[in-house]
């Protein structure tokens, strides 16, 4: 494949005192794909994701977007580059309504004097836009003015995904989006991930749930001991083989080790 990766990292290192959280990790996300990132607890996948979303600044190594080197000092830097992250359970403010949650921190103000001087919010615009985004992702919520706490867990996660999809122009990162959800609601979130892919946005999915990973992922990044151990295609490998790669019980092929697939 000769296409330039959307998001790429080379040789990232992050140490906390004597603990090495990221130990020379490589990473590659290609256009329009769903890339699952899996790894055992403590393998450092969450540190890697934090480095890619700006929550952690690596000690060394390089990050590229579309082949151009970038530096994320804060999560805002990453957002300015069009990278949005959905966190597993801290994504929304329960007491606020849906529209306020979708536009939290990026509120739309009215035009003219009332907006610029009196700083009045354009609630109607935010409500209508939120409804449009919800409909785009086929989330059936009747009104954007109801508070998020009246929604089911899956619908709440849906609101968080809508926010990410509304503002994430380049990459959507989902950190364990189904960890707190039941089977049916997880299925809804999986549908959302496919919807986002259908719009041409690449998704990084961090998950423990092998069936989910095999269901939606185009490629699987296996993280082990602070670095990328392999990249595999779900159609080439069984779940137990991938678990073996994850725990070090099996060795990847040369191609998989190089991340060339």
């Amino acid at each position: 494949m000769t296409q330039t990766p959307v998001l790429q990292a080379r040789n990232l290192v992050k140490r906390y005192g004597s603990v090495t959280a990221i130990n020379g990790a490589d990473f590659e996300l290609r256009a329009g794909e769903i890339l699952a990132v899996i790894g055992d607890n403590g393998a450092g996948k969450s540190s890697l994701i934090k480095a890619l979303s700006g929550a952690v600044v690596p000690d060394s190594g390089e990050i590229f977007m579309d082949g151009q080197p970038v530096r994320f000092r804060t999560t805002l830097d990453a957002r300015h580059h069009g990278i949005e992250t959905v966190y597993q359970d801290l994504a929304v403010i329960p007491a606020l309504d849906i529209a306020s949650n979708v536009y939290l921190g990026r509120e739309i103000r009215k035009k003219g004097f009332v907006g610029s001087v009196l700083r009045q919010l354009d609630k109607a615009a935010m409500r209508d836009e939120s409804m449009k985004h919800l409909a785009d992702l086929k989330i059936g919520i009747r009104s954007a003015i109801q508070s998020v706490e009246t929604l089911s867990g899956g619908q709440r996660q849906g609101v968080a995904v809508v926010r990410a999809a509304a503002f994430g122009k380049r990459v959507i990162i989902m950190d364990e989006p189904t960890a707190a959800l039941g089977v049916k609601e997880s299925g809804m979130v999986m549908d959302l991930i496919r919807e986002i892919k259908g719009r041409g946005l690449p998704v990084i999915l961090i998950s423990h749930d092998m069936p989910h990973v095999f269901e939606v992922a185009d490629r699987i990044h296996v993280h082990r001991l602070g670095r990328r151990a392999a990249v595999v295609r779900p159609q080439d490998r069984s779940m137990s083989e991938v678990v073996a790669l994850m725990t070090g019980a099996a060795e990847p092929t040369e191609e998989e080790r190089a991340g060339a697939l």
Partner: protein, 330 residues
């Protein structure tokens, strides 16, 4: 719009009528206020007269204004124990400096000193991550003592003029209100607008409701918190001015129960002590409930100390209700 069957889950199918009442947070306080008014009207023929209603409004001015500041802080999941003492410091500052420097300088100096207390509270809560309860308990003690030292333990009568402007009477029908009542309404209106119609207001709710989620959404949580404390200082200064309009003598021992009364008003008004939910409209109703209760109990001849017991019980009931409502929704 295409609705996939799984996402269109019914939202309120198993909600009882009772929990719907809980989702109308102003209904409970409003019912309590109306009930109190009816009870006192029956118990005392003097209660529902224009004179007495005006009196309740005037008696509610200082606590009512301070309660707006308390609402801002409680919405951020904090509490301010120092706001009453800060206002008293403000009254002494006003009365002491007006003689030497004139009313404009006196008002400016009061605004600055009250904002300074707010800034100290805000800085300790945001920069040092100390719990607001402890921070404001400390500043309350320090400010109360500093006020005594500053006042030299005497009272300062003021001359009619700018300082007593908020006490200027306005007659309308049989009602006899003051400019202070207008100021009270203005403070509520401006704060209501800021909280519900601007991004800054939404951020206060967000920071109080879930600080981590707010930070991840890109809100500068420390800045939001700090501005809430700073604004509370401004509100304390306005309350100090209004206090001299009500009683034209600055007394370092005045308004001893004001701070607890603001917390009572906020909590009775339906704002959650856990932060993130509530409104200044609720606080206005809460202030009126406290005012009606104290006034009505006085009219039917209940001793002051029993009134304190009654408001104390009321706070605990309101907090218990808040706890209960929270458990139902979560």
């Amino acid at each position: 719009m295409t609705v996939s069957p799984t996402m269109a889950a019914p939202i309120s199918k198993r909600k009882t009528d009772f929990s719907r009442v809980l989702h109308q947070p102003l209904l409970g306080p409003l019912a309590a206020l109306i009930l109190a008014v009816i009870i006192f009207s029956v118990l005392s023929s003097r209660f529902l007269t224009p004179f007495n209603v005006s009196l309740i409004l005037q008696q509610s001015i200082v606590v009512g204004i301070l309660a707006v500041g308390q609402t801002l802080i409680i919405l951020t999941a904090g509490i301010d124990l120092s706001i009453g003492a800060t206002a008293v410091l403000g009254t002494i500052m006003l009365a002491k400096t007006v003689g030497t420097s004139g009313p404009v300088v006196a008002l400016a100096a009061t605004l600055l000193i009250c904002m300074a207390v707010g800034a100290i509270n805000g800085a300790l809560v945001t920069a040092f991550k100390l719990p607001p309860f402890i921070v404001t308990l400390g500043t309350f003690t320090a400010v109360a003592a500093a006020t005594q030292l500053f006042a030299g333990s005497t009272t300062y009568p003021t001359q009619p003029g700018v300082l007593s402007f908020l006490g200027t009477p306005i007659r309308a029908g049989g009602f006899n209100i003051t400019v202070g009542v207008i100021a009270l309404i203005l403070v509520y209106a401006v704060t209501w607008y800021a909280l519900t119609q601007t991004a800054g207001g939404k951020h206060i709710y967000a920071v109080g409701g879930s600080p981590t989620a707010a930070r991840l959404a890109g809100i500068k949580t420390s800045r939001t918190l700090f501005s809430a404390y700073l604004l509370t200082g401004v509100i304390a200064a306005i309350a100090a001015w209004a206090a001299l309009g009500r009683i034209p003598t600055a007394d370092p021992n005045a308004f001893q129960t004001a701070n607890l009364d603001t917390i009572t008003a906020v909590v009775i008004g339906g704002t959650s002590l856990f932060g993130g939910r509530g409104s200044v409209l609720g606080t206005l109703i809460g202030t009126l409930i406290v005012g009606v209760l104290r006034n009505g109990l006085t009219l039917i001849g209940v001793d002051n100390l029993y009134q304190n017991i009654a408001t104390g019980v009321l706070v605990i009931v309101a907090v218990a209700f808040d706890q209960f409502a929270r458990r139902r929704t979560s």
